[in-house]
């Protein structure tokens, strides 16, 4: 076997990474859009606190984020125990837990561009929609959402790439279980722990670099396309 062909474990890690990053992005995009909308449009008591909380994963050491998740969502954690009892839902040491860890860490990166593009929308267009008969929901779906699409796209790609590279929070929260929670970054880490693992680490690193480049280029092209469609509104 040449140095450049992937082992089945490595292929598994790649598939797992993409799956986790995809779910992380899909699940947190609506929430990120909601948070961005609330932050962009409403003024309320405790707004700064909420803003700070949402941005915390950006500044906290990922290990700490992972540990907090473990405390909160572990099988004996405050929320985790309740989730398991009521819904039979377990995050600890499962790939779903890795999705949660990635989503939490990527969340602030998704909120920011969406918030910026929401703030750039000319709100007079929304009142125009209102006078044409569109209620709040219709206005949101036919005016606000399409005009904030550039921000949504950028947010989604940033979230996806950040999720793809997640390491600290994931290894702390859901450990490093091959086939379940061992993503590409964790696999690189594992490979480096064993003697002679460096060629494997190198292969995985190349994959990560390639996937990241593809994602960033796609983001740039998609972002430009969407911005053109919406005529320069938003990020």
């Amino acid at each position: 076997m040449s140095d450049w062909s992937l082992s089945s474990a490595e292929i598994e890690a790649l598939r797992l990474s993409v799956r986790i990053a995809t779910w992380s992005t899909v699940a947190s995009l609506p929430l990120a859009a909601l948070a961005a909308y609330v932050l962009a449009r409403y003024h309320f008591w405790g707004k700064e606190l909420l803003n700070g909380l949402l941005h915390m994963p950006l500044v906290l050491p990922p290990v700490v984020t992972g540990y907090l998740l473990l405390l909160l969502l572990g099988r004996r954690g405050l929320v985790g125990a309740w989730l398991e009892q009521t819904f039979g839902l377990v995050f600890a040491f499962r790939w779903t837990g890795a999705v949660v860890a990635a989503a939490v860490v990527a969340f602030p990166l998704m909120v920011r561009p969406i918030r910026l593009s929401l703030e750039a929308i000319d709100r007079r267009l929304e009142s125009a929609a209102n006078t044409l008969g569109a209620n709040r929901w219709w206005t949101w779906f036919t005016v606000t959402l399409p005009l904030s699409l550039p921000g949504m796209v950028v947010g989604a790609i940033l979230g996806f790439t950040r999720s793809l590279g997640e390491f600290g929070a994931t290894i702390t929260f859901v450990s490093n279980i091959p086939g379940e929670t061992q993503t590409l970054s964790l696999a690189v880490h594992s490979a480096l722990q064993v003697p002679g693992g460096e060629p494997g680490a190198m292969r995985l690193t190349v994959i990560i670099v390639l996937v990241t480049i593809v994602a960033l280029v796609a983001s740039e092209m998609l972002g430009r396309y969407v911005a053109r469609r919406t005529q320069g509104y938003g990020a």
Binding site: D122, L125, L132, N135, V143
Partner: protein, 375 residues
């Protein structure tokens, strides 16, 4: 029928306006800051009155006493904004149909094809707002508002952001709106637009309605500021082209009170035109003048003499000619030496050469259909 009776405080401005508007275009006319836009915003539901009552065709949109305050999307009131506000992410066609789909099928009285024909939008349908000229944008905005099949239409200075050429291009389209069968409130501070488009006029000053009624009547009785220069006062006369005297190079304009002669203009006989007469172009004589080069001499009554303000050399006289009122700017010295008194018969002298050619060309444009002034 649109009935508006609203009160609202906005900073230093206190709006207290009550008027109604039947079918056709009613202009809300006044200087900037008079509260015109705030009033239409209250009608549309974008601004909440402190108290009052608004209804269209018997549908109550707002009533503070009854606790009614419909949101904008339930009011069925179309709104054409000063800046168009077309949706940049939609094609012209989708923009036009945006409000249309919210109207119950049974209540639609206008369809896309009609509006496209009315406003000449066929060539624009596939384009996006960014590629349109200012005038085209406003035409689409008008079409979009109309296609929401509203019970009333509001237009907030839709031409204010356009240059003179674009205004000329779009005005003929706006003229067609008068017979849409719904009340249209047209906000403007441009005398030109108002005199051309509006059937009725509501004059606003500092949030209050100072006068309202038929446009011709109000404009010909009122001292107004000039369309071009707000410091210039004068009168707008509603006239009709009675005949052309090609040999003398004069066109005769009839109005209730007399006849004006102006340099030949290429407007068909019988067409109604409005003529702007500057106060300083009107002189006064106490006897029928003789040996005079002026061709426009009108007999009337002196109804008002302006204040005897020591700091000004001039004062204003109001002359009633038939049912029209002319304003004349004369020196205070002339008032004393001619011993002018209220109620006396006078002759108004209007220099025909001084009937502003630019105004005439506007008037000619107003007459539409190829009415261009002769070079």
């Amino acid at each position: 029928m649109l009935e508006v009776d609203v009160k609202r405080r906005l900073g230093n401005l206190s709006i207290e306006a009550r008027f109604s508007s039947d079918q056709g275009v009613t202009a809300l006319f006044g200087r900037s800051g008079a509260g015109k836009t705030s009033i239409v915003n209250m009608v549309s539901g974008l601004l909440r009155p402190d108290e009052g009552h608004i209804e269209v065709d018997g549908h109550v949109l707002f009533d503070s006493a009854a606790g009614v305050d419909l949101p904008p999307w339930k009011r069925r009131v179309g709104y054409v904004f000063q800046e168009g506000r077309l949706f940049p992410h939609l094609t012209v066609r989708s923009n036009l149909l945006y409000g249309w789909r919210f109207v119950p099928a049974a209540e639609r009285y206008l369809a896309l094809d009609q509006i496209v024909a009315l406003l000449d939008l066929g060539a624009l349908l596939r384009r996006r707002p960014r590629s349109l000229s200012g005038g085209e944008k406003q035409r689409v905005a008008v079409g979009r508002a109309l296609l929401s099949n509203p019970r009333a239409l509001l237009m907030d200075e839709p031409l204010a952001s356009l240059d003179v050429l674009m205004k000329r291009e779009i005005l003929p389209y706006l003229e067609r709106l008068d017979n849409m069968g719904i009340p249209i409130l047209y906000v403007s501070h441009s005398l030109d637009e108002v005199s051309r488009l509006a059937r009725n006029l509501v004059l606003l000053s500092a949030g209050r309605v100072t006068r309202s009624g038929a446009t011709d009547e109000i404009l010909s009785q009122l001292e107004l500021w000039s369309p071009e220069d707000e410091t210039e006062t004068g009168t707008m006369l509603a006239t009709r082209v009675s005949r052309h005297d090609a040999e003398a190079g004069l066109t005769h304009l009839d109005f209730r009170g007399g006849e004006l002669r102006v340099p030949l203009v290429d407007i068909p006989e019988g067409v109604a035109v409005r003529v702007w007469i500057r106060a300083r172009d009107v002189g006064v004589a106490t006897e029928p003048p003789r040996g005079l080069s002026l061709r426009n001499v009108l007999k009337g009554t002196l109804v008002e003499i302006g204040g005897d303000d020591n700091t000004r050399a001039v004062t204003e006289l109001r002359l009633r000619i038939g049912n029209a009122t002319l304003t004349s700017l004369v020196t205070r010295q002339a008032v004393r030496e001619l011993a002018l008194t209220q109620g006396q018969d006078v002759y108004a002298l209007i220099k025909s050469a001084n009937l502003d050619r630019r105004q005439l060309s506007l008037v000619a444009a107003m007459a539409g259909e190829g009415g261009k002034p002769r070079p």
